[in-house]
Amino acid sequence: MLDFLQFRGPWDVIQAGAWLVSLLLLGWMLWDAIRVSQQYGEDVLTSSQEGVDELAMQQDGQRKS
């Protein structure tokens, strides 16, 4: 079916491609994470709160008392 793959060459190319794509994606995530840390303050980034949903918001007044 895939007879053209029946020698070692193509798999070396595919492996190299896999290494390359992985490193590009990992590199992009790191770059993006660093960029975001520079653009936003730590207080903003870590501002999420647990239990912020409809249920909790309904009872918000009660919670804040």
């Binding site: 895939l2 798999w11 995530m29 975001v36 903003v44 870590t46 647990e50 239990g51």
Partner: protein, 468 residues
């Protein structure tokens, strides 16, 4: 209050995106677990024979039903990322919560490592099947590729990540159904099933083997409880979460039964017990190229779906612990654009990738199973404390499970039996891994808890617990 304000102004509060529906919950739960039907469950056949495996499958199914009942009741009132971790924080206390959080992160990260390891191996097998020289293809670049692509998907947003999970999980599930139909009704294969002739009726190890099989019967379901992790990102959580979890559990029961039925009917149990990919092997027996290709795709997709779900769940648990400062606060960051716990996702990549690289599949699986089992042992404690601190009339529950102390008592008993099975299988390894949790607990009490705000951990709008 969680929206990014218009006009480019800096947002005041960034929360996880609330975008998921019931199909995503199903995809998360089933996606993580379904790989267990393609590989792993069959080790229970090695432990107790084919009949022993299905008996263990049913009994462990009862264990998970108890877990699901307890989880549904507590989660229907605790809707937050972190799932059982957040439950533990509210019902039992900080140290228990820290341990439960670690169980979650390690159970999922180790399962993810096993998934990508299997993915790499399947690519290698396919390459050699297509004529590459044996030994010339290295699995590692494919292991890393799987981790990188899935982490990237998770980084870019939970909606896309779990929508893709829905698709590939559905394909993997369909491949099991197609294989069953092909064998049962003779479509595309003339190969019959031979349950009787393959000695299915016997227990080669007697009832001791059935008990020992509990250890790997866990793989039929391990991870379904992870649907709770999505609670903070699900729209109308009270409805979607139980719906997605219940349909997920039904899917798994069907998949487990079909898988066992076709595999036990076509492979000798001594082979089945040690096979890497039993469903794929069963398709090879059919003599149909279509089935072989379909089951290869199903196996690959299930491994990817599982790894994807594990990245999601492990990062949510890690993120939640960072938010409470059980772990460094650094990990509590939410990406302002993609609304994902991006630092937790990145941090867990090297752990999963390195264990996927190393030939440590045995200990990795042990750690995953043991962490899961410790988590289930916590559930009855959770339930008893939840009911006694907040009796039914004091807070409104989305769901109240029937026969109260019975599911918890059954669960304790079955967990104890499974610990015996794990002891039979792993012996002293079990204790060595317990040492990890003990050391981590001591570290938490003496060096970590001082950074935690006390009253702020309790975030639910509940009245004061009874007796405190």
């Amino acid at each position: 209050m969680s929206d990014i304000t218009a006009g480019g102004a800096k947002p005041s509060s960034i929360n996880l995106a609330k975008v998921l529906g019931p199909i995503h919950v199903w995809a998360l739960g089933v996606g993580i677990v379904l790989v267990g039907e393609f590989m792993g469950w069959n080790l229970s056949v090695e432990k107790g024979g084919a009949l022993g495996s299905i008996i263990a499958c049913w009994i462990v199914g009862l264990l998970y039903t108890c877990v699901a009942m307890i989880d549904s009741e507590v989660t229907s009132t605790v809707a937050a990322a972190g799932g059982q971790y957040t439950q533990a924080k509210h019902t039992t206390g900080p140290l228990m919560a820290f341990n439960v959080g670690l169980y979650l992160v390690l159970a999922y990260t180790m399962l993810e490592a096993a998934d990508v390891f299997v993915f790499g191996d399947l690519v290698r097998i396919a390459a050699e099947g297509l004529g590459a020289e044996p030994g010339s293809v290295d699995a590692r670049p494919f292991v890393l590729l799987a981790v990188a692509v899935l982490a990237w998907l998770n980084y870019r947003g939970v909606f896309m990540a779990l929508s893709i999970n829905f698709l590939i999980t559905a394909v993997a599930f369909a491949s099991i159904v197609v294989l069953f139909v092909a064998y049962q009704f003779g479509v595309g294969t003339a190969e019959p099933l031979h349950h009787q002739e393959l000695g299915m009726g016997g227990l080669p190890y007697g009832w001791m083997g059935v008990l020992a099989a509990f250890q790997f019967a866990i793989w039929y379901y391990l991870g379904i409880e992870g649907t709770c992790q999505a609670a903070e990102e699900v729209r109308s959580c009270g409805r979607s979460l139980p719906l997605g979890t219940m349909t997920g559990m039904i899917t798994l029961l069907i998949a487990a039964a079909l898988t066992w039925y076709v595999c036990a009917g076509s492979l000798p149990w001594e082979y089945l017990g040690t096979a890497l990919a039993p469903l794929y092997d069963t398709s090879r027996m059919s003599g149909s190229t279509f089935l072989v290709v379909l089951l290869w795709i199903g196996t690959v997709f299930s491994a990817l779906a599982s790894a994807n779900g594990c990245i999601n769940d492990a990062s949510r648990a890690w993120f939640s612990m960072g938010r409470d400062r059980y772990l460094p606060q650094f990990f509590a960051a939410v990406h302002p654009r993609y609304r994902t716990p991006y630092r937790a996702i990145i941090f867990l990549i090297p752990i999963a990738a390195s264990f996927g690289f190393l030939q440590l599949l045995g200990p990795v699986i042990t750690f995953s199973i043991l962490s899961g089992l410790l988590g289930y042992t916590f559930m009855p404690i959770n339930m008893f404390r939840f009911r006694s601190k907040w009796p039914l009339e004091t807070i409104k529950r989305g769901y109240v499970h029937p026969f109260h102390p019975i599911p918890s008592l059954v669960l304790v008993t079955l967990c104890a039996a499974t610990f015996v099975a794990v002891y039979l299988g792993f012996g002293t390894q079990l204790l060595a891994m317990m040492v990890f949790y003990v050391v981590a607990s001591v570290w938490f009490v003496f060096f970590r808890y001082k950074y935690v705000r006390r009253g702020d951990q309790f975030t639910m709008a509940w009245p004061r617990p009874r007796g405190y």
